[in-house]
Amino acid sequence: MASSLADNDLFASYLEGNAESFRVLFRRHARGLVNFAYRMLRDESLAEEVAQEAFSRVVRSPPDLDRGTKFSTYLYSVARNLCIDELRKRKIRRHLSLDAQGPGEEGRTLMEKMPGNSPSTDAMAMDGELRERIEAAIAEIPESQREVFLLREFAELSFEEVARSVGCSENTAKSRMRYALERLRSLLGDLHPEDA
């Protein structure tokens, strides 16, 4: 029942005191948020922290969603700002290599940590290679374009919502998206969807 409600209704219900409504919201958005933060920061544990902090901020200072803001837009805006703060703080930008070790990962590289779905070792290796290339290509996109790309492609916000989250016009968001796709094409042009 609750899961069929719109985000804003669920959030209103939560503000009325129904904590379980927030659980539905969490389950709807947590994965997208963690993945968005991960691709922005290239660090799993930081991505988790960002997601947690984003949810916390939403409950600590609830947005006024009666003013036309969507819950998801607000949530991703918060997460996006946290990521940018983190990037600024750590001066990571976008050149973090896949071989870089995240904090507390004790020698495991991101490449090594990538799980594969296919049972065979060869398939795993192929999957890993493909994913490595995709991840590396995404990391190559300039930051302003990457955030738009991630919000649209993985978080599945509309261009209008992306524009709101990022703080630019819808046209700018679309053109950034286009640049991002062109960039990816130039980096991954030799791959074919069948490889995936």
Partner: protein, 551 residues
């Protein structure tokens, strides 16, 4: 040939929307018909689709274990701090209407109720004072200056006070207009009310209101009133309550909303301000020329706590309140039309919040409306229906100048008739008129970019005002903004320029400039991409090569 390329460019921009299912039907039809004839674009679309398909194999991270528990624990604790009782919603409708119930349950309306209480008290006391109740008048006769008005009610009469009287005096002080009833009083009274209010909400709150009312009646030692008078009291109370809903109570709500808007603004990145720069009206930037009436300030949607306070001030104080913010700067390009009524100099706080609304609309909301609150429609009437374009303004201005000049030279042709005045204008337009864009260019040349920027921004929003192309306007605006040291903002203009006018003649120059800025802001990858494109342009290849080596 060029047209074809532009057609391709336009349609390639549409492809992004198509890929993500956001293309409108008309554009889709245009794109489809273009794709039928353009093989390059078909290939482009296919390649973009392939990229999207590839993205599906990108790695996704599962929700880390324990995250849900931590977030939910935080959510619960935040909820318990809010201390609002939960009522099971009976369906989607219930949750949709939840904002109202949330308000009523005391979470937000508590300060509003306190404000309503304040107004009730003021209205009650004012009624008593002005109604000439003998017991009250006798008490005031003892004081050196009897205070029948609200203004004078502030200093408490030094008469010996009973316990009830003391509380009454305290209430008087709390709602004195001089002490900003809109917010401070609200806080004070909210604090008082909080002591008495239980989280159970309305009933308790109403009880507090009733208690306070009765205490004020006791405090003023009002004799038992006949029922008709009691009804009048209630009516006065209702009026007060209504007023507070329109004015005082609006402030905490509007304040809260704007506080959030401010927080959200803060949270948004530099690009938020960039976005404004790029042409979007700031959210809630509506002209709040109706702010003197608290109710209007609510409907304006973009008023802050301060504005609402001003509204409350006006609502309670009999004299107009001086505007608290500086008047909007006069638009440099808009000439004062000779036929227009003289604008009143001080603009309201609301007007200063919306500089884009132009001079006239802001001016109308000056002192007049503050001292005599008018319904909204008057304010709408006061706002000109259509602003003259800059082009027209310039024409008019130049015509006036010309007239003046002629007049000072003793030319007899200067006349008062408007039709006659227009004739020479038309004749001299070609020679006298200076395009605002040229003026901006002149200012830029003189390194007065700060003066050029507002002109260019106006031209950006009003393309009809200039003969220069919008691409040029954006380019110059980007250059001026960069010259002012606002690299991020400038880059937004450049991005707009590249995205909207792919065939712009000065594109390479703009790209070169943008590349420098990208280096400046630390986005070397984008800078490199731009410089690489410039390698193939003879005029820029050497420079670009050098720069790339430096990177």
């Amino acid at each position: 040939m060029t047209r074809d390329r532009t057609g391709c460019e336009t349609n390639r921009e549409r492809m992004t929307e198509l890929l993500y299912g956001e293309l409108d039907v008309r554009s889709l039809q245009e794109l489809s018909s273009h794709l039928e004839t353009c093989e390059d674009c078909r290939e482009e679309l296919e390649s973009l689709r392939s990229i999207r398909s590839l993205m599906r194999s990108a790695r996704t991270i599962d929700i880390p274990p324990g995250l849900e528990a931590r977030v939910m624990s935080e959510a619960r604790s935040a909820l318990s701090h809010r201390a609002t009782p939960y009522v099971e919603p009976s369906g989607p409708r219930a949750t949709q209407a939840s904002w109202l119930s949330r308000l009523l349950k005391g979470g937000i309306l508590r300060p509003a109720m306190a404000a309503a209480l304040a107004v009730l008290l003021v209205a009650g006391v004012a009624y008593l004072l002005e109604g000439g109740k003998p017991s009250v008048m006798q008490r005031y006769e003892k004081t050196p200056s009897p205070a029948p008005s609200l203004e004078r009610a502030a200093p408490a009469p030094p008469a010996p006070a009973t316990e009830h009287e003391q509380s009454s005096t305290h209430d008087h002080k709390a709602v004195t207009p001089r002490e900003d009833p809109g917010l401070e009083t609200t806080v004070t009274l909210a604090q008082q009310a909080d002591v008495a209010m239980t989280p159970t909400g309305n009933a308790a709150a109403e009880k507090v209101v009733a208690d306070n009312l009765s205490s004020s009646q006791v405090a003023t030692k009002m004799p038992a009133q006949p029922s008709a008078e009691a009804d009048d009291e209630d009516a006065a109370g209702l009026v007060g309550a209504k007023d507070s809903a329109d004015t005082g109570s609006a402030s905490p709500l509007a304040g809260k909303q704007d506080l959030f808007a401010a927080i959200a603004d803060k949270k948004l990145p530099v690009t938020e301000s960039m976005d404004e720069a790029a042409g979007e009206m700031p959210a809630g930037g509506m002209s709040t020329s109706s702010t003197p009436e608290g109710g209007h300030s609510k409907s304006a949607g973009g008023t802050g706590a301060k504005t609402a306070m001003t509204g409350a001030d006006v609502g309670y104080a009999p004299e107009p309140v001086a505007p608290k913010t500086v008047a909007a700067p006069p638009a440099k390009l808009a000439p004062p039309p000779s036929t227009a009524p003289a604008p009143s100099p001080p603009a309201s706080a609301g007007a200063s919040m919306a500089p884009m609304d132009g001079v006239e609309s802001g001016m109308k909301s000056g002192e007049d409306t503050m001292s005599e609150p008018e319904p909204v429609k008057d304010v709408e009437e006061a706002t000109p229906k259509k602003k003259p374009s800059l082009w027209e303004s310039w024409k008019k201005k130049k015509a006036e100048k010309k007239e003046k000049k002629k007049g000072s030279l003793g030319t007899s042709s200067s006349s008062t008739g408007s039709t006659e005045a227009e004739k020479p204008v038309e004749a001299t337009d070609q020679t006298v008129f200076q395009d605002p864009f040229d003026q901006a260019m002149g200012l830029k040349k003189d390194k007065k970019c700060d003066e050029a920027i507002p002109i260019l921004k106006k031209l950006k929003d009003d393309p009809a005002s200039t003969q220069a192309s919008q691409a040029k306007v954006y380019h110059t605006l980007a250059e001026c903004t960069a010259a002012q040291g606002e690299a991020q903002k400038a880059l937004v203009y450049y991005e707009n320029l590249f995205a909207r006018w792919p065939a712009y003649a000065g594109r390479n120059q703009a790209m070169w400039e943008a590349a420098q800025l990208y280096i400046l802001v630390g986005d070397k990858a984008t800078a490199r991409a731009m410089l690489e494109k410039l390698l193939s342009v003879p005029a820029f290849s050497d420079k670009a090569k050098k720069k790339l080596e430096g990177l």
